[in-house]
Amino acid sequence: MEKAKKWVNENVVVVTLIVLCVLFGIGNPVFFSVKNVINLLSQMCINALMATGLVYVIILGGIDISVGGTAALAGVVSAYAGLMFPNMNSFAAIVILVVSGVAVGVVVGFLNGFMIAYLNVVPMICTLAMLNITRGVAYVITNGQPVYGLPDSYAFLGASRLFKTESMPNGILPVITIFTVIVVVLMHILLSKTVFGRHVYAVGSNKSVAHLSGINVKKVTLSGHIICSVMACLAGVCAASKIQNGQPGACDSYEMYAIASAVMGGTSLVGGSGSIARAMFGVAVIAVIKNGMDLMQISSYWQKVVIGVIILLAVIVDMAQKNKKE
């Protein structure tokens, strides 16, 4: 009994997830259907990519709230790029999407990271400003209109599914899920198993100690922000691919979900600890809430409130555990 209690205390987010699944399953049994589960897996992906990037930055002791705008900008840029190649096949489309995403991500991430690490701008302010700038630029270059007219190959990444069968003519396995799993796993390995990842944790734990241990704190911080923005951009291009057009207003408020997922997954806002694997549970919680409430036909206004409340509860419980430990 003691051991079970201890496990529950250390894995609040997992417990929350299970409880929510049960509740929503009772609310509408369709929740557990194969179709819905596949839907869920697909819906989680965009936030999963974004949250993965956020984990790096939060471990470093900073924050990045510009990710929503950055994602939209990447979506729009990739749509324009896609329009230049109307005859591209699915594979080429993926390449174009990823390359545009990475390009935008590197630029924005570099700007964020440089200002934060080298010019000592407070991360909250810097990324808040960048949120406005990226979102603004997206609107400017599109004149507020969606970028449409993209070939179907463009939607392969975001909307297609593999393994079409008779009972599932649309396919079983969403391509976006495969893509997300690959990227997230790679980023997880980078963070948890490489020297760079250790440096990220060290800088987040204690900058002075990291510096005196020979770590280039500024460089690591810059890299972290570039990773975060690139991940946000990959999320953004996936979102654009999903609806087959680039919307300047896409990914609105996604930064909140991404940060909430990371924090629910135990990534401490003071830095130095956290993991991508656990953040994915946070991502799952949010996806389940949204999906479950959709199935129960709860209005989206209420959804916003409910999500906020559940995030607060999960974090408060988590903090209480941490304080008890000390």
Binding site: R198, S205, N206
Partner: protein, 498 residues
Amino acid sequence: MEPILQVKNISKVFPGVKALTDVSADFYPGEVHTLVGENGAGKSTLIKIISGVYTPTEGRVILEGKEMKFTSPGQAIDAGIAVIHQELSIAKDLTVAENIYLGREPKKGRLLDRKKMNQDAQEILDFMKVNMKATQMAGHLNAAQQQMIEIAKVISKNAKVVVMDEPTSSLSESEIDALFEQVKILKKKNVAIIYITHRLKELTQICERVTVLRDGCKVDTMMVKDVTEQQIVNSMVGREMGDYYNKHEHTRGKEMLRVEGLTRKGVFENISFTAYAGEIVGFSGLVGAGRTEVMEAIFGATHIDSGKIFLEGKEVHFNSPIDAINANVGLVTEDRRRTGLLLQKKIKENISLPSLPKHKSGMGFVDTKWEVDVAEEYMKKLRIKAPNIDTILSTLSGGNQQKVILSKWLVADSKVLILDEPTRGIDVNARSEFYTLMNEFVEAGGCIIMISSEMPEVLGVSDRVIVMRGGKISGELSREEANEQSIMNLASFTSDAE
């Protein structure tokens, strides 16, 4: 005379460990009563019970004849028990005066009476003969100066019982003298002082009574004038212990580190010295003389305006610590909790940190097998007392934390080790072990530069002593020439100084 504070039959049990067993002691007004004992002996637990942080599992705390049942530190403070902690709790973004009167600011009606606050604070500082302005920002002061603020705080509170937990560990000789002047004044005011220190020399200077704790039990309470230092040490460790500096004769080897004309405007000027393999060079001087700053600059953590550094005869430029580390130089900083360790991380993660890049496998992956092997090797070699290599650093004692830091640099293949106050806050036994490790290091051909403000340590351990004063090197003494007087002459400002 009646004791003002008594602890009777105090026991304290934590899950899995009995920290105190049936400890009783009396504290008299106007007297300094010192608690000595190794780390883990129970001194800090006893203090925390007296100051209301813990409640005793058994036993009573009696203040002025009345039994006290403190359930919070605030209650103890209100009852007149003030504590100066070893870990400074100074608000860096407030001024000295604001720190002294934090929570008790003088008011004019409902508004803060800043003028009175600054005046009163300055009075206390002047009284303490500390060269500090009440309006300075506390964050700009160094550790020693911040501790002066803590002492000023307590003086301003007019407490009945003052607990001082290793107050001198960051102080220079002259500041310690100033502190002892304050202690004498407090004694005249009939304040009972409970003093904790590892520096046994201080016992004869300032205290009347000493209680020795060992493994949570009281071994004895003695009057200082009736016992020798050796007797106290023996009580603390429970056996006969010889001269714990373990000094051996070393043969000096080749030139390892040479600095010429190192200057940083306003901090240090024209620093030149040479350190050789096989020797421990002691760096003495008053706090604020610039020793730490010189070493941080040599290590590449801060910049220099001019000057040259030579490693094993070849000129080097350390633009950042990574350069120094790659050149096999290590720095053990003066504040291990703030700048020495990742407190929330495991032993093995701390030990491997500077050496990770040198032990990469494949595409930048951490060599986890190497990390485990090397951590276990050094835990054994340095006799680090901890459950295993995955233990979190914050749970270790000061002495063991320091050993982890030393392991870190040994694993990084350091040939030159700069130690800044390496045994601060560490008990007798652990210190002795540390000195042995230092000797082993130099006997194997390493070179140690040790900054220390503790005279007996400098005299006991160094092969020669370099003294700094006001940012410059004022002199060098051989082991034979070095004694308290000669060092103090070089360290202090006198009328013949420049």
